[in-house]
Symmetry: C2
Subunit: 458 residues, 2 copies
């Protein structure tokens, strides 16, 4: 046997031993999470005693109190608030929309279930009543730009069911939610309606942020429930003359004071080097934000709780961060990274859960090729727990600034995405639509990944 073979055999042996040790410890983590009701009951409390919690709302304040208590109960050594200014967009009273013919006779007044898009301006207090024009996509918008003045643009943006990831459909169809208003305003449109960014089988409208191009008037924009959208669009396709009434009180109040809620387990070897795990604490106003992103908050708290409960002392300081204002401003994530940079903190790794509390499938990483290769050697340890792939690409909106400002390698939990956009930003995103076991599997896989990174570094 030559020297090379000896070395290889030794490496294989060491690797096998490490894997066996780790496998036993990961099983302890899993047993602890699966035997506990903590993540599920934390989520129940957040959804049922706090509920909606958009930045600047009274729900935000209650959620911050909830987060501090949950982190203390989980066993954090230290819990504190990191202040940041947050936008304060308010919906006002219920959005109202219906359509009819101009005279209200050929087509009778037909109400639609709609939600003003987040960050949208409202209408005139009395509402607007204007002819609707159907626009299938941005190409058609350009081709028919001369016809848009004074009208309400109805975008027929389809959430493509054939994409194998619903996030792809979200990106494609969501472009009309994010940019549609200004694209139409450029040519004189007075408001836009988009199909909700979903393929759900119900009629719930789905809100979410738009971004205005400040070069054009900030016209009001709302999302329609799919059944209502289909009915309206069918009439427009048939060439009928349809007028839409839309009334929204949406507006911005002055910025409010919000906070990232942070809990730590102090590192035993590197107390001034950080591993961050988080989700965002804010949610849209129509629902409880159970999957988006209550799940990510309780996932992250559960990582700390479970590691502490089984007596693991992290080498690096483990920080759980419940970020402020992801939905319509990203102020919390930016604040966290800016302060880390200003203080010269060293951040080893960051992990976010912001894709729901569904059964986990994979992690996605933004890291160097070496780091990714090192971590991929662990994948077989995760397979029994339903995570089969460590993919290149991924992270989270709130930890993105840490990656950009400090170069911190980051990862995101990727749960099965089949159901996410059925509920996302809509009134169906409630506690009852979260399954305890699916939620727990997300948390235990995150705790396992944090443990491996903490033990081996990157």
């Amino acid at each position: 046997m030559n020297r090379f073979v000896w070395v290889m055999a030794l490496l294989v042996f060491q690797s096998a031993t490490a894997q066996t040790d780790d496998s036993g410890f990961l099983r302890k983590i899993a047993d602890n999470v699966l035997s506990s009701n903590a993540a599920y009951e934390n989520l129940r409390a957040l959804c049922k005693t706090v509920g909606p919690r958009l930045a600047g709302s009274s729900g935000m304040v209650k959620a911050e109190a909830w987060g501090q208590k949950a982190l203390r109960d989980a066993g954090a050594d230290k819990v504190w608030l990191q202040e940041c200014a947050v936008p304060n967009w308010v919906r006002g009273n219920k959005d109202e929309a219906w359509y009819s013919s101009k005279d209200g006779k050929t087509i009778k007044k037909t109400p639609m279930d709609i939600l003003a898009l987040g960050n949208s301006m409202g209408t005139d207090p009395k509402g607007i009543f204007l002819p609707a024009i159907l626009i299938n996509d941005f190409n058609e918008l350009e081709a028919r730009k001369a016809e848009l003045a004074g009208k309400i643009v109805v975008f027929n943006n389809i959430f493509d069911p054939k994409n194998l990831s619903t996030f792809k459909s979200y990106g494609e169809s969501g472009a009309y939610r994010v940019r549609g208003a200004s694209m139409a305003a450029k040519y004189g449109a007075k408001a836009v309606l988009v199909r909700s960014i979903t393929a759900s089988t119900d009629n719930n409208p789905h809100t979410g942020s738009l971004v205005y191009d400040t070069a054009y008037p900030k016209i009001p924009a709302a999302a329609m429930g799919l059944k209502d959208a289909d009915a309206l669009i069918a009439r427009l396709k048939a060439g009928e003359e349809v007028y839409v009434f839309y009334r929204s009180e949406a507006r911005f109040l002055p910025d409010a004071v919000g906070h990232n809620v942070i809990g730590e387990l102090t590192g035993s070897e590197f107390p001034d080097q950080y591993i961050t795990v988080g989700g965002h604490l804010d949610s849209w106003d129509p629902a409880e934000g159970a999957h988006d992103d209550g799940a990510g908050c309780v996932h992250s708290i559960e990582v700390l709780r479970a590691l502490k409960a089984i007596g693991y002392k992290p080498r690096y300081t483990l920080r759980v961060v419940l970020f402020a204002n992801e939905e319509n401003g990203m102020r919390g994530g930016n604040k966290y990274a800016e302060e880390a940079k200003a203080k010269g903190e060293k951040h080893v790794f960051a992990l976010e859960s912001d894709a729901g509390g569904f059964t986990p499938r994979s992690f996605g990483f933004t890291a160097s090729l070496d780091q990714l290769r090192n971590m991929r050697a662990w994948v077989s340890l995760f397979e029994p727990y339903g995570v089969y792939q460590f993919n290149a690409g991924g992270g989270g909106a709130d930890i993105g600034p840490l990656n950009r400002l400090l170069g911190t390698p980051m990862a995101g939990l990727n749960p099965d995405n089949s159901r996410y956009f059925d509920l996302h930003h809509a009134r169906g995103d409630v506690f009852e639509n979260v399954n305890k076991r699916e939620l727990d599997f997300g948390a235990l896989n995150m705790a396992m990944l944090i443990y491996m990174v903490d033990k081996y570094g990157l």
Copy 2:
């Protein structure tokens, strides 16, 4: 370049070409299924216009008519019924149970949500009111056998949340549902109550079959909702004297006439050789049997519909079988295999879906090592669609007889099992708890597997 390298290069090239061709065709299958509402709307019709359909019930007859129509609509060349006698167990009026102290004063009458187990005998028409005894497991049953006479045994069978597959917990905890009655009757117990075989967070009781050992009296048995079970068991653990009232009208009527519903696409090359794909048409009585096994029925019909819709002509005859009476007798599956054997039919492969309409994870195979190795070469084609593993071991209750009598290789679809036992055999198993996209992904993976087997053989 030597001859060996040339041959290898050629093989790699051929294999890559085959994979590319197949990959394109599989994508066509996926696009067709994901663009269609057929599976979801078929399931809606089965759940909402037929509903519960236990063997022998009027629902069974309606379901058979639904199945024939659905198969014709899907494009089957030929649809027919295969008759088989089925057991005719009936629940009668609502099961009733409560507990109290003997005098009804120390502990007031406390109602419990329960369901008689399938195939259980009922109680005396007036009900029974007897002291309860808590038994944690079969070991304790043996140790305390002298105390059981004249009592109602309350089994504290826990559905272990720590098992990584819920099917393992189902097997462990389910042993008390299946065998508990006769084990207790052996020592003179008069009835048994089991915890429902679930870890659900609600109080819905879950029924399911028991099997009597004919050597002992057939005593009544029922499943308790978990919250009620916990409350009762806490009192028994505290040493309180608790009496249980139980009344059930469950009984058997004479066997009824049921049918397997069969639809075919005739094979172009081997019309007298068969590939079977199926689920079972019967369901328990408390719900709509949406996941168990409406999903398997519409999955199987969708395989035929999609392959026909994209113009694929199978080489072997494709048979979709909606099996009768899986839940409490397995008469349909046995009949199908017995008739196949009697007629000398050649069966190439059989695939069953009977684990719900959840997001698919893997297929499990009962096949020779060579066959499994051949099929495993296809796994990478399935990964984009969420199926990462082709495992050894698996099939289905209804196609098991085909495997045993004819040696037919078989497989089962393994969806994510996190939520299955929350709903299984309980009133939560309704259409609303099935997600369209998750259902469609099960169907398209099944259609893809059937296509590959049909094209390449085994």
